[in-house]
């Protein structure tokens, strides 16, 4: 298929369609609204379910219900809406049903603004609701990657029966880039055996995110943890670039990853030995690759569009092997390559 000039939000929506999403439930919020709007047109066209929910809380619970029938269901939102979904996500996570959530992050806290940001790192990667769970979190840096990771999100959600979140920042949602969409998948899925479809000729299925007795719930928790451990072991993804000889290691995700790349390229042109690690899975976090790369680094620079939410993870990965610095722009400001380059040059001069 040929490349098209695609806006991130539309590309994600279209990728979800092609991956095989059965149902979309959502509520408007900038900067993701085009995704909702695209779905409102395309889902009915394809004979699938689209419903504009009355709120984000309703949306995530509709997703929960649809997912319980074995369908591939999704929603999309941005920071404030994701906050409202936390209880629902916590239920879904313990229920072992698959769901995909797209978060096109904007400035926070509070109402914040509609400019690009990465202010949701903590609430996405720490299992922002109550209880011991995590969601898979995928962070694309280009429109093409947004497409690819959307498809992956469905496959991972399905494989592990869990929540997979596509964490785009406002840049990814709003920008256009030539990209190639995958072909429309054949949808011949059969309902999984655990799905709620009416107990026809079999004992009833039930889905319940609780265990009133401590022993029951403890066992459910350890089972969930075992699954999360499997995901940690198999699903870590990141891009490493020029790290082999890097004395300075830049760590940045999402569109900051690509912006940092420009800075790294220019720094290399200045003769500075600098490399880049771009986590693609924010959870599970690429601790190992960063630990290894940090082993021979003199300094690690984390760059984010927030006040340093990923720094904890990087510090844990680096584990004291090198000092960890931070450069960040919260509240909707986007760092430009120049300022990152400046920090790199600064660090290269320290000894």
């Amino acid at each position: 298929m040929a490349k098209e000039l695609l806006k991130g939000n539309i590309a994600i929506a279209e990728a979800a369609l092609r991956a095989g999403v059965d149902a979309y439930f959502g509520y408007p919020i900038t900067p993701q609204t085009e995704l909702l709007e695209h779905m409102s047109r395309r889902m009915p066209e394809l004979g699938r379910v689209f419903l504009q929910a009355e709120s984000e809380i309703a949306a995530i619970n509709m997703v929960y219900g649809a997912a319980c029938t074995g369908a591939w269901a999704m929603t999309s939102s941005s920071g404030p809406g994701i906050s409202l979904m936390q209880e629902g996500l916590s239920y879904i996570a313990l229920s072992d049903v698959p769901a995909v959530v797209v978060d096109i992050m904007r400035g926070g806290p509070g109402l914040g603004n509609i400019q690009p940001s990465q202010a949701d790192y903590n609430q996405l990667t720490r299992g922002g609701g109550h209880g011991d769970y995590r969601c898979i979190v995928l962070a694309p840096a280009t429109v093409q990657e947004a497409i690819d990771l959307t498809v992956l999100a469905f496959d991972l959600a399905d494989k592990y029966r869990t929540v997979a979140i596509l964490a785009g920042d406002g840049l990814i949602g709003q920008m256009m880039e030539p990209a190639q969409l995958p072909p429309m998948r054949e949808r011949s899925r059969t309902r999984p055996p655990w799905a709620l479809t009416g107990a026809r000729g079999r004992p009833p299925n039930s889905i319940a995110a609780f265990g009133l007795e401590a022993e029951t719930l403890e066992a459910m928790n350890w089972r969930l943890q075992a699954k999360l451990q499997r995901i940690r072991q198999t699903e870590v993804r990141c891009e490493t670039w020029l790290v082999d000889d890097a004395e300075i290691l830049v760590v940045a995700f999402g569109s900051v990853g690509r912006i940092a790349k420009t800075a790294v390229r220019e720094a290399r042109a200045h003769g500075i030995r600098v490399g880049l690690i771009r986590p693609i899975t924010l959870w599970p976090f690429p601790y190992k690759p960063i630990e290894q790369a940090a082993a021979h680094a003199r300094a690690v620079l984390v760059v984010e569009m927030n006040t340093g939410q990923m720094v904890d993870d990087v510090r844990m990965a680096v584990c004291g092997q090198a000092p960890v610095y931070f450069h960040g722009r919260p509240g909707g400001s986007v760092p430009v390559p120049e300022e990152i380059l400046e920090r790199i040059v600064e660090l290269s001069k320290e000894d």
């Binding site: 379910v49 809380i57 219900g65 269901a73 239920y91 009416g198």
Partner: protein, 265 residues
């Protein structure tokens, strides 16, 4: 006249049995709690309509959190108050299944107000069973939206003051006032007659859903002897004497389509 003489035997016949759609498990409900009775009635109607293998339940958070297990149905427990949204997610995927929610008054009328109003507003083809026991049962008897004026609960030690807390919520009337609701009735289970009426209302609500008439709801005035501090019998009496005065029983809304069903049978 026919010459044949029929041999008439006296046989013992089982005239009332536990409904098949009701699990054999003993419930967690308190002695005399009419949650049990309502569960049983719903099971009876499901048996009667033969829709057990076609019905999916959505349970609330509250004393009836195990509804999904007491009824022999595929089912899920929704977050507190969100049963309608979860049910909508299910129903939109499987429009030919019967999808029912079961919610307490705290669950539906307090935290879940938006979800149920929206289900009714959109005329979602689901049936809500709404158990109004005038308090939060599971958490130990706090004021619910439905708590009567002056009623003492653990959070209205001086009785519900309608000046600061507002008048008790008449959910059936509120839902009936919304465009998408097709059938709304308020019932109780304090004697054989009200139980019969309740069973009829449940049946009609489910038939209406099967006929895609829109949102249907049956409210039950239900006893919570434990938190009311009354005996099971005293609790039923209180419903009859006190609750019914504020929450009149009967059909509150019957859309034309449902009216047709009613006459058709």
């Amino acid at each position: 006249m026919d010459e044949q003489i029929a041999v008439v035997n006296v046989q013992e016949q089982l005239v009332y049995a536990r409904p098949r759609a009701l699990t054999e498990e003993t419930t967690n409900y308190c002695p005399g709690c009419t949650h049990g009775l309502i569960n049983k009635l719903i099971a009876e109607v499901i048996d009667e309509l033969g829709i057990q293998e076609n019905t999916i339940s959505v349970s609330p958070v509250g004393c009836s959190v195990f509804f999904y297990r007491y009824l022999v149905l595929d089912g899920v427990v929704a977050p507190h108050g969100r049963a309608p949204a979860v049910a909508i997610g299910i129903k939109r995927m499987l429009p030919d299944r019967v999808v029912i929610t079961y919610q307490g008054d705290g669950d539906m009328a307090a935290i879940g107000m938006s979800e149920v109003v929206w289900a009714a507003m959109r005329g979602e083809n689901i049936t809500a069973f709404f158990v109004n026991n005038a308090n939060y049962g599971m958490t130990g008897g706090q004021m619910a939206p439905t708590t009567l004026a002056g009623q003492v609960t653990t959070t209205t030690p001086e009785g519900r003051d309608v000046e600061t807390m507002g008048m008790p919520t008449r959910m059936a009337e509120l839902i009936a006032g919304l465009p998408g609701s097709a059938y709304v009735a308020r019932c109780s289970t304090y004697d054989a007659r009200t139980i019969r009426d309740a069973r009829n209302a449940i049946r009609l609500a489910l038939r209406a859903q099967m006929a895609e008439a829109g949102f249907t709801m049956v409210e039950f005035l239900s006893a919570c002897p434990t938190n009311w501090g009354l005996s099971p019998q005293g609790a039923l009496q209180w419903i009859k004497d006190t609750m019914v005065a504020y929450y009149p029983l009967g059909e509150i809304k019957v859309s034309e389509a449902v009216q047709r069903l009613k006459t058709k049978r």
